[in-house]
Symmetry: C2
């Protein structure tokens, strides 16, 4: 089970696009912590993902969005600062093997200031999407698209493998 | 050399986000064929990728954006229709090995109707990003982010390999 969790998103276009991406990559749930934008306006951008907006669970604090999860994964455009263990990161393609049958939450931060250190500390793992060293800061919904694509890819590959096994047995 | 080519983009947010992605993933050139939106308004969304907007080459027809290229790659959310050889597609992770020192163009279509059959026929290869069979149609700039991320990943891996070789030699 995969839950996408947005912490205080500020742009309706981002929230709308993320709802669409939840449909594109068959996410199970969308949670929004204390939205700072108008979720109704987000519908302009969600296309056939609008059901995710309608059913999105809005909560007050990050705690309320993660307390029932087995594995909490945060994301940040700032990774592996020297001597800062909190920021030690994994790559997007390294997390899919950890998911299995777990209840997993993917936590994305504010457009302006990302996640706080306290919020990152509430998660088990931090993921950094490798990009241009001069400017690795992706727009929020584009970071979401890359993580969901990577998880989808590994799901498709698993199905292919288990189908192959069915055929040969 | 990687050139991103947008054919008649309709949304300024998409064009702006794509300029930002060009910077995030160190693309060489951005070409825009007959834009249907206001490129000045796109600057609101391009953040530190605004130089790509300022230097974007605007042309009238797709031909003018691809004639000097070695390898032309189109993208579509409709792939592998039965019996339609034009639509036989490759996956994003399959194209990186084809790039090498070639001059490569990545061609993306209109938000409303994608690329025409004639435009796809002008390219050598078509790429389809695997996604939910019920709704594999990504928003334009999110499709761009996934393709550029895949190409970046393979570039990083190549560098890692050649650095390893330097170390061991
Ligand atoms: N908290 C939530 N936020 C948004 N959509 C939700 C949701 N909980 C359920 N949904 C809806 O329910 C659908 C997925 S529910 C789980 C589907 C899963 N693949 C399975 O079969 O087990 C989505 O399409 C979405 O529209
Ligand atoms: N390279 C990258 N890797 C992982 N997540 C990223 C990313 N670039 C952006 N994001 C995601 O997009 C969100 C908004 S970008 C936040 C940028 C902010 N200036 C900061 O100080 O962090 C981030 O919180 C993260 O969830
Ligand atoms: N799954 C996918 N794989 C590859 N490219 C995609 C994609 N989803 C969207 N795109 C890109 O995003 C552009 C806009 S989406 C176009 C959708 C349109 N309804 C159509 O008939 O095609 C497409 O032209 C393509 O360049």
């Amino acid at each position: 089970m995969i839950r996408v969790i947005l912490v205080e998103p500020e742009g309706e276009y981002n929230v709308g696009f993320i709802a669409r991406l939840c449909k594109n990559f068959d996410v199970d749930q969308l949670y929004i912590v204390n939205p700072k934008c108008d979720l109704d306006k987000a519908k302009q951008f969600s296309a056939k993902g609008n059901t995710f907006l309608e059913r999105a669970k809005v909560v007050d604090k990050l705690e309320d969005a993660i307390e029932d999860l087995d594995l909490k994964i945060s994301t940040s455009s700032i990774a592996d600062s020297k001597g800062d263990m909190l920021r030690k990161s994994m790559a997007p393609w390294e997390i899919s093997s950890l998911i299995g049958r777990r209840q997993v939450g993917l936590v994305f931060g504010r457009e302006s200031v990302g996640l706080t250190r306290e919020e990152i500390a509430m998660t088990d793992i931090m993921v950094f999407i490798p990009a241009n060293r001069d400017y690795p800061v992706l727009n929020l919904s584009h970071a979401v698209s890359i993580i969901l694509y990577e998880l989808w890819k590994s799901k498709v590959n698993e199905n292919r493998i288990s189908n192959d096994m069915n055929v040969s047995s």
